[in-house]
Symmetry: C2
Subunit: 396 residues, 2 copies
Amino acid sequence: MDRIFREHMPVKLAKDKFLSAITPITRMEDISIQKCPGRVLATHIIAPRNVPHFRRSAMDGYAMRAVDTLGASPLNPVMLQLSDVVEEGTCARVGTGQHIPEGADAVMMIEDTVSMGDMIEIRAQLHPGKNVGDIGEDIRKNEILFNKGHLLRACDAGVLASLGIRKVKVYCKPVVVIIPVGDDLVPLSYTELPPAGKSLESNSLMIGLYVEQWGGVPHYHDIVPEDTTLIKQAIEENLNADMLIISGGTSVGEKDFVPSVVASMGELLVHGVGLSPGKPTALGRVNNKPVVCMPGYPAAGLVALFVFGRPALRKVANAPDVPDVIVKAHLSSKIPSREGYLSYARVILDGKIAHPLMTAGAGILSSIAKSQGFVIIPEHVEGYEKESEVDVFLIE
Amino acid sequence: MDRIFREHMPVKLAKDKFLSAITPITRMEDISIQKCPGRVLATHIIAPRNVPHFRRSAMDGYAMRAVDTLGASPLNPVMLQLSDVVEEGTCARVGTGQHIPEGADAVMMIEDTVSMGDMIEIRAQLHPGKNVGDIGEDIRKNEILFNKGHLLRACDAGVLASLGIRKVKVYCKPVVVIIPVGDDLVPLSYTELPPAGKSLESNSLMIGLYVEQWGGVPHYHDIVPEDTTLIKQAIEENLNADMLIISGGTSVGEKDFVPSVVASMGELLVHGVGLSPGKPTALGRVNNKPVVCMPGYPAAGLVALFVFGRPALRKVANAPDVPDVIVKAHLSSKIPSREGYLSYARVILDGKIAHPLMTAGAGILSSIAKSQGFVIIPEHVEGYEKESEVDVFLIE
């Protein structure tokens, strides 16, 4: 490994290393289908009945016995009596999707008939089964409808409901404990302007709301001072959670508390990644629980959360990662980047034009408020020129 | 207009006509920032304080008076006394982002110093303001932080929280009444196998869960029989809602109830669109409330819901439409399509391969369960060949 990669691990390697150390949760619960969108099936779903559970018509027309149409043509039509019951010499009106009466075995489309009061002129010959949707034609009883691991959607709830399924067994939502670390933080409950040097601790709320959005249950821990013993205690007391996200205390400097505590309690898999902003991110595992140590700077923390926190949480939850929403745009000015770093440049989207934010330091709050998305610049690329077409990853 | 367009309006025209007839809601409410993701701001948000509200350091280093560094260089260093207070001849240790003590007006990065116990050797000259983040540098008090109409994200909640903002004024969530119509439907509360010819009414649940997902509040109406008076009554009783979605009773045939009732009560803007599946969709307005009349077939209803229901609901809610999630794939076989129709072909995604579902009738439930997305074929294109690269629109 060259010098750069000793200092910061490439993002892909760091992510692979971290994700492969994660064991998805196995706890399950039964939930109502009303609550199923976004949840992950913990068992296969077997169709409890046939769909349709009755023979239905594929056309608007008349149900009849195919044998009664033998030889019928426009020049040589057959007359059938309109009836509710289908037997020799009778037919019944059916709409598309409607039940085909017992005695019938075929449906003639309305275009091949002429209605003459209660007699119907049949102008074509049918073979048995024509325009008849068989029982189980759509879904066969006992077939696997959804596989274990399927991420349920609202439309799936409709399918389940139509089969009479009211509850499904899904994986529990992972509990994610969020621990803010910092001597310069005051809790959000503080209603005055914080003293000089102090800031409101707002990262936990941001992280927690994303955790909810991505299918987890956030638990908010109090602010922990930059003290090895207290950080260790906070981690220890929360190892019953499924994942820990620690915000702050990760920068490689004098007070590099959190990663060293994680290393002492379990494994520190990654410390320092080729991600800009987000370099001080550390990733580890304590008691088999993944621990994401995010930089405390909001913009750096946000990027680390998207790059590592989201896929980790989704893996814990047995869910596929959330797909990125990407729009194409042209840059209104050049974006520089650091070679060796996967760079997340914040941009303002204005239709098809992306304006790079110039004051895009890791701590700059306004850059989060103003930007709609990131332009991601690969490690080996030295920035993008003005007017380049780029992919903009929208910030959820 | 040629014959085809008399029978079915092109999707784009139908959508434009419908959306331009929609008035967004104006009701507002105050909500906690904890609940803000996905909501739309009903007022501008003005920054109530400066960020930072204290001068902070942009570097790890020492805060000092710039004047004390006059002429300093590696060959001609200046010595300053380490202290907590900055005055003539002293300096104070500061970390990135930390408060700069009163008397200081510049910060020297640690790399330009040598620490010698409580004396610091200063090896460079600073100008006033160097590495000092001014009060309000990031966000200036009274600036507009977010515009009215901004769709709030979890990261915005973090920005708001860090400014001491606890509540925001947002538009209320639109109330959407969902009315299922059909003589062949039994309610979901029915626990037995429905009689032959009858089906469980599952469309309402599917629609309602999407309404929730897209930021509305679904109200579920009981099943209404295919009877003009009863349909009219159901619409009339729900005109206090912000939008109505009626499922079923739209096909152009013998029992074309719903569109004619809408026409009699208000305006029927569209009836029959060049959409496959989904042709019988009707769009109208009663008492200034948008009414979407969806086909009762689940697959057709789903497509109509995505194409018309979603953008309509988002417009009512003052929100931008939900961005589509698109993945690229190659077709494993040809997809045919009908000229003149915007066709939504359901596909099974298998990595980068999209397998078109062959049994893709409008009523086929299993095709919803099995498909991950749609390949959308424009009106003027006659299907896609095997191995074409296509955009697959993932089904949320």
